[in-house]
């Protein structure tokens, strides 16, 4: 079956106006929020689970590669199609199917926007906890595929900790259910396995999520430090003091000045680094912890500790944090961000390493990250019009991630592996580890119709990468 025939079938399944196949339309579906591109052959907008099932059955029979796509805010290439493949866009599957207050659950279609769910249940005193920086745009289906995080995962965990059930369309087109509204069930935890499988096992068509009660009290503090080192030490000291903040974010001086110029969040322009610390819960507990955090910060050489006095001040501090990536667009034609994780005690050391990498490759690297759980987002600035700069940016990024792995960490805390880090999986996992995982993928997705060439390297790539990887991303994508 050729592509026009496939498009014809897709139109029969989803409706004539629910398929795009003109080059100028497809261009909009080439990329995500990262730096990779690939043009699909068609984009289809199903509205029902049954339509997704029919599309999968069609794709498997051709066969033609398929990828599900929400808002494409991902950074790892997870939602990018194979050239000429089918994109299943979930934007018309955007209904909140059920809000079950008694059971503290909601059932949503995959295209529901993350923040929209929290807004929808806000009047009930409830919210959905995972809060990626892109939460105004990103979809819950995408969150499930990538197991997304956000600042508040420090206390509340990533997406998998908030999903209790999924309706899934398997590559065969079969519609199956994993889990339900109960917090846990007997049998293998297929829901937990599915979340974070990066669209390689099936497509989620309905998702049962936990809704949490909004905390009684929230305190947001800004600790201002002369140096990144002092701020990093403070992160460890807060943990050692037995305090688990809801969020604990760090921004280095360069990054916060860039943000401040963009959105006037009230960050000090002359600081070496700031910590954005949020505590939530019972009023009395929050007040005690806020005071304890203030004391720890001052003991660890904070110049000043400010506390947001109003909801507006708090929102402004967070606006700065969450629009950081937008702010960078003003100062650099391109940037590349990473998502490495280190054990918390290694935060000061990894920041020094990033400083060295920045000098070595002669690139500005800003640091903005989830310090509380050791999840880094070094922002590497470059100009994509100069190939040598892209090459240096990717080399710098690889060097940082390899340091994270050597320190006992991981290559991704919340963005997923996708296309960009799949070769580094060989450094993180043994060939046999990967063999076990890929054999599971093959059991569900044996013909690799669903999101091929993502998440896992080919065994050949693993064998070729001996010692430090030589920009495998570049090699693989011919850049």
């Amino acid at each position: 079956m050729n592509l026009p025939e496939v498009v014809g079938h897709l139109r029969k399944i989803a409706g004539h106006d629910a398929v795009l196949d003109r080059p100028e339309d497809l261009m909009l579906y080439e990329y995500d929020a990262g730096i990779r591109k690939s043009t699909p052959g068609a984009v289809v907008f199903p509205q029902t689970t049954e339509q997704v099932s029919q599309i999968m059955r069609l794709a498997s029979s051709v066969p033609i590669p398929v990828v599900a796509r929400g808002a494409a805010t991902g950074l790892s290439g997870g939602a990018i199609s194979q050239p000429g493949g089918i994109v299943i866009a979930t934007s018309r599957m955007n209904h909140i199917l059920e809000v079950d207050v008694e059971n503290q659950r909601a059932v949503v279609q995959p295209g529901v926007v993350n923040l929209q769910l929290s807004e929808h249940v806000s009047h009930l005193g409830l919210y959905f906890a995972p809060d990626p920086s892109s939460q105004k745009a990103c979809t819950i289906g995408g969150n499930v595929a990538e197991n997304s995080g956000g600042p508040h995962t420090l206390m509340y965990g990533v997406t998998v900790n908030h999903v209790t059930g999924v309706e899934v369309v398997l590559p065969s087109g079969e519609i199956v259910h994993f889990g339900g509204k109960a917090a846990e069930s007997y049998g293998y935890d297929m829901t937990g396995f599915f979340v974070g499988s990066e669209g390689t096992v099936g497509i989620a068509t309905a998702i049962t999520v936990k809704l949490l009660r909004k905390p009684e009290k929230v305190a947001t503090l800004l600790g201002i430090f002369e140096s990144v080192d002092d701020a990093a030490q403070t992160v460890s000291a807060i943990t050692a003091a037995g305090i688990t903040p809801a969020a604990l974010e760090m921004l280095d001086g360069w990054t916060l000045r860039t943000i401040e110029a963009y959105c006037h969040a009230g960050y000090p322009l002359d600081a070496g680094a700031v910590l954005l610390i949020e505590l939530d819960g019972l009023r009395e507990a929050v007040e005690e912890q806020a005071e304890a955090v203030r004391v720890v910060c001052l003991e660890e050489k904070a110049r000043e500790v400010r506390r947001a006095k109003t909801e507006e001040e708090r929102a402004l501090l967070w606006k700065g944090r969450k629009t950081a990536f937008g702010a960078l667009g003003r100062v650099s034609p391109s940037y590349y961000t990473q998502d490495g994780v280190v054990p918390r005690s290694k935060i000061p050391a990894v920041l020094r390493h990033i400083g060295n990498v920045s000098k070595k490759y002669d690139l500005i690297i800003g640091n903005i990250f989830h310090a509380g759980d050791g999840n880094l987002h070094p922002l590497i600035l470059f100009d994509i019009r100069f190939p040598d700069q892209l090459e240096r940016a990717l080399a710098a990024s690889t060097e940082i991630l390899e340091w994270c792995i050597a320190a006992g960490g991981s290559i991704t805390g919340e963005h997923g592996v996708g296309m960009e880090k799949r070769d580094l999986m060989c450094v993180l996992f043994t060939e046999q580890d990967l063999d076990v995982m890929t054999s599971l993928r093959n059991a569900f997705n044996g013909d690799d119709v669903l999101n091929p060439k993502k998440l896992f390297p080919t065994p050949r790539m693993c064998r070729e990468i001996t010692g430090p990887a030589q920009n495998p991303v570049l090699v693989q994508e011919g850049m």
Binding site: D100, Q104, E146, G149, G157, V158, V160, N161, G165, V176, H177, G179, G180, A182, A183, E184, S185, Y186, G187, Y188, D189, M190, G192, F193, G196, S197, E216, K217, A240, I243, G281, L282, R283, E284, A285, E288, V341, P343, S345, D373, G374, G409, S410, I411, T412, G413, E414, H415, V417, K421, M425, L428, T430, Q432, D433, D435, V436, M437, S439, R441
Partner: protein, 441 residues
């Protein structure tokens, strides 16, 4: 195993893998039977590589392997048709990583929960799992059976704080999932598959966990109610209040008699455990108001919560002929299920004692007869209850009298797609050598 000479050959091969002192042969294994089935051998490998060698050997010769730790849950599961090798993980106790500043630890599967807890307590840290018999229960067994105790309410389940796992698949591949950092989404989440898999996918050799800062003080507020409905009404108020207790446990009147630290009584109790400063505890007191019958702290509090963790084992000891049924369900159905349990127990002439993490939807119900009961009565009790479970609930009959096991399926009402689970099983243990016949398939 057909002949004595084959057995001798297998024994010598297993001895070669693990060392002579780590192989035990029948009949010394009689007290270590699996639901009456006596294993031919017990081996205690000293490393993950030895586990690989044992499982490879088992695959080659079609031997059925039962992974074992502290033997606190081996009475559960369906009757195994055959058990050849009992594989103990108790020599795998090495600490892989531990830096108190990271609030994480990686430890061998054979380490007991009590050992792990006391190790981290030295740094004012806290391992949140609180299973029955922590002195015997091993980390590997804890994960494999997906156990949880009262702390499940405030700290989440194993799926929330197990961050990495190393294991050997049934087909003898040594593999891992996750790692040692608290946030990590690289690769498939193998922890989720292994937690609660009852040793049917792989032998867990070590695992990494998030730790928590140890609470500086806790206090338990015991509230008493004339009926289950009133107790659940109270639960609803707590769940919808700003309070954030670490435990919220329902104890039925009959269960009180099995709970040292609470003592006999005719009322339903809810034990709410709070952590925090005097000011925080004072807030709990004022929010909970006059429903609180008494407050417990210090050693008495410790005794109470250990008893609630140990509930199932206290039942087995006092009432060896009991049914012990564990149920997970949505919060809103707890009340209805408590009513069903009462009706089912009454119509089958069984005494019912129930405890449960009613804030997360987990109930443990023990039922026992006044005197001898017919096998048919147990079987009918279980099937009646199974038919009355609410949507999205699942259950496991963790204990029943030996003669009833044949007629009672352990697992019921599993909400996830069975064929997908079977695919997973086939990928990791194609020859079905691990715990054959005891789990879902």
């Amino acid at each position: 195993m057909s002949t004595a000479s084959t057995a001798t050959r297998f024994a010598s091969e297993l001895r070669a893998i693990c060392g002579a002192e780590y192989l035990v042969e029948d009949p010394e294994l009689r007290p270590r039977d699996i639901l009456g089935v006596v294993p031919a051998f017990a081996v205690t490998p000293g490393s993950p590589d030895e586990v690989v060698a044992v499982l490879r050997f088992a695959n080659e010769h079609g031997l059925v392997v039962v992974p074992a730790g502290g033997f606190t849950q081996q009475h559960s599961g369906d009757l195994p048709p055959q058990v050849d090798v009992l594989l103990y993980t108790t020599r795998l106790t090495e600490v892989e990583h531990y830096d108190s500043g990271d609030l994480t630890i990686g430890i061998g599967a054979g380490c007991t929960v009590a050992q792990l807890s006391s190790k981290v307590a030295a740094h004012n840290l806290f391992f949140a799992a609180d299973p029955a018999l922590p002195e015997r229960c091993t980390v590997g067994g804890l994960l494999a059976t997906g156990l949880y105790g009262p702390h499940r309410h405030g700290y989440g389940g194993l799926r929330d704080y197990c961050i990495g796992v190393r294991f050997v698949t049934g087909d003898a591949r040594k593999a891992k999932g996750g790692g040692r950092v608290v946030k990590n989404v690289a690769g498939y989440d193998m922890m989720k598959l292994l937690i609660g898999s009852w040793g049917t996918l792989g032998v867990i050799t070590s695992a990494s966990f998030k730790l928590f800062p140890a609470p500086r003080q806790t206090r338990t507020f015991v509230s008493e109610f004339a009926s289950a409905a009133e107790a659940i009404g109270f639960r609803n108020r707590v769940v919808h209040s700003p309070l954030d207790p670490v435990c919220l446990e329902l104890v039925s009147p009959e269960a009180r008699g099995l709970t040292p630290g609470l003592g006999p009584g005719s009322s339903w109790s809810i034990c709410l455990r709070a952590a925090g400063s005097d000011t925080v505890l004072a807030r709990y007191r004022s929010e909970l108001g006059t429903t609180v019958a008494r407050e417990i702290e210090g050693e008495n509090e410790h005794v109470l919560w250990q008893a609630l963790s140990d509930f199932s084992h206290i039942v087995y000891e006092r009432h060896p002929r009991s049914l012990l049924i564990s149920m997970t369900l949505p919060l809103g159905d707890v009340q209805a299920l408590l009513d069903e349990l009462a009706m089912v127990a009454q119509s089958h002439n069984l005494t019912l004692a129930t405890v449960g993490r009613v804030g997360v939807g987990h109930l443990l119900a023990a039922m026992w007869p006044a005197a001898q009961a017919e096998v048919a009565n147990y079987v009918d009790t279980v099937s009646t209850l199974r038919n009355r479970l609410p949507r999205d609930a699942s259950m496991a009959v963790l204990h029943c009298p030996a003669e009833a096991r044949q007629g009672i399926k352990t697992w019921a009402s599993i909400p996830s797609h069975l064929e997908s689970m079977r695919l997973v099983k086939n990928v990791l243990d194609a020859k079905d050598i691990l715990n054959r016949g005891r789990f879902l398939f």
